[in-house]
């Protein structure tokens, strides 16, 4: 009778009859073998009855054993008072004895009951009482803080975020110790019931930016969110642009630094990825290690990254444009070398480039998907055997292998992997433009990309904001990384970078 009621909408109070509750629970959690429903007798002569429901996969075995112990101890405690144990007494008992460090909650209806069970609480339903008792015993096995795999630095902290929200928040809080650091908890209503947090530094963050951000984040209600990147995509400005508008990091130090720069960060339970919003164009060329190394070196490395991005974007198209339209621009000796390698290749330059690019993308994808020990084999087979063989087979010219190889390597020089996607994606249309119109087409493509970039805004911030004429930040922390003496002074004056 109870079981058929839709408990998700109507708030049905808990039945006083333990037997009915038992039936309801067993019905609801049918085929959920990890939900344990157990009967307990306690009190004098073990006449009192109670039902313990918990999710086995969320609650560590030790703690439920502890619970057993407590329940078994109860008769001694209760005997002194009276035979009739009230729920309130039990609640006090639990709080005093401190079985769980977290407070015990009183549950009134089945909605609360179920929410508590799936969130890793142990729920106690007592006979003849329309209230249930719940205490948090959630303890899913999580890995401990480890060095982040993707953002490796030579000098600097080696802590990376883990899949535990509290620990991640702690890692950030321990770096930014000010009451101005705000963390606002949010929870979605969907089946996943995701808990996520956004944080910002009050006073540093731009007000209008925060307003827009909150407007968007408050719209997230019923979505099933499993990763912070879901949130990033839900609140992003434009889904069509190949350029990422948010940065992802696994480093608490990077997240802290971005908070200090006036950014908003998003964290989530169950994932270690922190979203930093907004991510502007030149920030994707900055790596954490830039700030841990000396400024001269960092500045040069940044320049290398910018060049890498341009190469990764345009090298194949420059090659196509030069060889098919502007052969007179190539120095004669180089042209002779090119002629030797191009002779006997059955494809036009564009087709040859597309084939080799496809090979490269294929190898890259295969290398990512395969388990690590085999992954390295793929790169050896791919780079050495396929590359060499396709030259010998007359499918591709050696110069094309150099061009495509350089293009691929160049895209890896960008610290943020997803920013490299932009170059990988825009490469192809640029190649077609170069094949149709040569240098003119190439520049047409560049102009279109530049138009798009200058139109793009992220949370009311222009994407190319740091490239504006009146902004000196590009010289300070854009193309170059100025010495920290000047950089930090600038930041402490509150002007922001």
């Amino acid at each position: 009778m109870l079981a058929i009621m839709d408990t998700t909408k109507v708030e049905v109070p808990i039945n006083k009859d333990l037997q009915a509750n038992d039936e309801y629970m067993r019905n609801l959690y049918k085929n959920c073998d990890d939900i344990k429903i157990r009967h307990f007798q306690f009190g004098a002569d073990y006449k009192q009855e109670a039902l313990v429901v918990h999710c086995d996969s969320l609650v560590q075995e030790e703690k439920s054993n502890l619970l057993h112990q407590v329940l078994k101890d109860m008769p001694d405690f209760e005997a002194a008072l009276s035979l009739d144990i009230s729920v309130k007494q039990i609640k006090v008992f639990f709080e005093n004895k401190g079985v769980s460090s977290r407070p015990v909650m009183l549950l009134k209806n089945y909605n609360e009951l179920n929410a508590n069970i799936v969130n890793g609480h142990i729920v106690l339903i007592f006979d003849k009482w329309d209230l249930a008792l719940s205490f948090d015993a959630s303890s899913v096995e999580k890995r401990s803080v480890a060095e982040p795999q993707n953002e490796v630095v030579v000098v600097g902290p080696r802590e990376g975020t883990i899949e535990n929200l509290q620990k991640n928040l702690g890692l950030i809080r321990s770096r930014v110790k000010t009451p101005n650091l705000k963390f606002i908890f949010k929870q979605t209503d969907g089946k996943s019931n995701t808990k996520f947090v956004y944080g910002y530094l009050d006073g540093t963050v731009k007000k209008e930016m925060l307003e827009v951000f909150e407007l968007r984040i408050n719209k997230i209600k019923n979505e099933e969110i499993l990763e912070t990147s879901y949130i990033a995509e839900l609140i992003e400005e434009s889904s069509v642009t190949p350029f990422p508008q948010y940065r992802f990091t696994e480093r608490p130090d990077v997240a802290s630094a971005s908070l200090l720069e006036g950014k908003i960060i998003i964290l989530m339970e169950g994932t270690g990825t922190i979203v930093i919003c907004p991510g502007l164009f030149n920030e994707f060329f900055q790596s954490a290690s830039d700030y841990y190394q000396r400024s001269v070196f960092s500045s040069i490395i940044r320049l290398v990254r910018f060049i890498g991005f341009i190469l990764s974007l345009a090298l194949p198209s420059i090659y196509i444009a030069l060889t098919t339209f502007h052969s007179e621009l190539i120095p004669t000796v180089l042209l002779i070398a090119l002629l030797d390698t191009r002779e006997g290749i059955p494809f036009p330059a564009i087709i040859e480039a597309l084939i080799m690019l496809f090979f490269f993308e294929l190898l890259q994808e295969a290398g990512v998907r395969l388990p690590k020990p085999i992954g390295s084999t793929v790169s050896i087979v791919g780079a050495l055997i396929i590359g060499e063989a396709s030259i010998n087979a007359g499918l591709a010219s050696p110069i094309m292998i150099v061009v495509i190889g350089l293009t691929g390597i160049a895209s890896f020089s960008i610290p943020y992997y997803d920013f490299g996607f932009a170059a990988r994606l825009l490469r192809i249309p640029l190649m077609f433009l170069a094949a149709i119109m040569g240098g003119f087409g190439l520049f047409l493509g560049f102009i279109l990309i530049f138009l798009h970039l200058s139109k793009l805004h992220v949370l009311k911030e222009p994407y190319l904001g740091t490239f504006t004429l009146n902004s000196t930040s590009l010289l300070k922390d854009g193309f170059f990384r100025l010495s920290l003496k000047k950089l930090l002074k600038h930041r402490s004056t509150g002007k922001g970078l």
Binding site: L339, E343, G344, N392, A393, M437, L444
Partner: protein, 380 residues
Amino acid sequence: MQKLIKYIVASSLLFLSGCWDHAELTEYVFVQSLAVDQKKDGTIKLTTQFYKPAPKIASAGGGGESYFNLETEAKSVFDAIRDVTIHLGRKANWGHVRFIVISEKVAKKYYLGSVLDFFYRDHEPRLLTGVAVTEGVAADYLKEKPHVENTVSEQLNEVTKTGSKFSAKTYPANLFTIGKQLHSEVDTVYVPYLRKEKEKENSIFVDGLSIFLGGKLKTTITNKETKSLMLALNNFQYGIIGIPCKGSKLQESFEITESHTNTSFAIKNDVIHYSLRPKLQASIGELECTNIETKQQLGVLHTKLEKQVNSNLMTLLKHSQKKDIDIIGLGNHIYRSNPKEWKRIKKEKIPYYKDAVFHVKSEVNILNTGTDISKPFHKK
């Protein structure tokens, strides 16, 4: 709707420039050099050297010559050039022509500007293409094998360029310098003169300069004379100047490491006075018969070298005066500083060059004696 129109307008940009000049590298055949000859019946024989790509793929074999020559005949150079297309399945690309050789016969008979007209008019050839005159049939020079470079065209280009830079024995003529000189008041044109030994293979060498006047080959001068000419033209970069030893065939050699020639010009009593003052920095390259243990001895060597430079220059100038060839472009100096006078000279056909008086006064500074100072190495 408005957006759609915008897109249509924007996409029409795509048709502004098209694929009309799109061509893969493999669709072209690149011209490396040209030889202009004349047949007995008066038609122009054009020998074109193309680069023959040698695929460096193991399975394709590779090897072989990296060029091939094609001969075409027609009444004009341009016509002969067009005939190239009927022999090859590929479009000829003139964007990388390295060298043009003209046979002495053609150079003597045809106006140089008209022979080269195509290369000035067409958009593909570069103005920095080298030009030389050959003794005998020009086509034979393209048939030689290169020593180091890929093609003989490349070698010829390098020979004239670096030869003039480091030995001053020739002039780095190219279409640009020729064009400039042809359009001067006195159209003296300097073009390297190539020779090769008849029975020997790979024996091309630059043997001085050929001097054009009025667009036609007038005379050729030797390597030694060329050095002096380069000094007179202030075009001497590096080179060797020797002083013969008294009573032996040996000579002292000096390397000129820096050179600058000041010239001045004046007309006094209807006589043109032209003075040249070469200022040279030299270092001793070889010492065969002089000791320079004292300052005086070094001073003597200084004056000796200065005298040698002076006499070399004077010989060249006297020689050219005898032939009445304005080898140093004196007329241009007159035109520049005194156009009226030049007009008169031209009108009245005054032999200004023959009557000109030259004053040569060189100044040499020996900077370096090498590691073994003071005396010839073989003298104990």
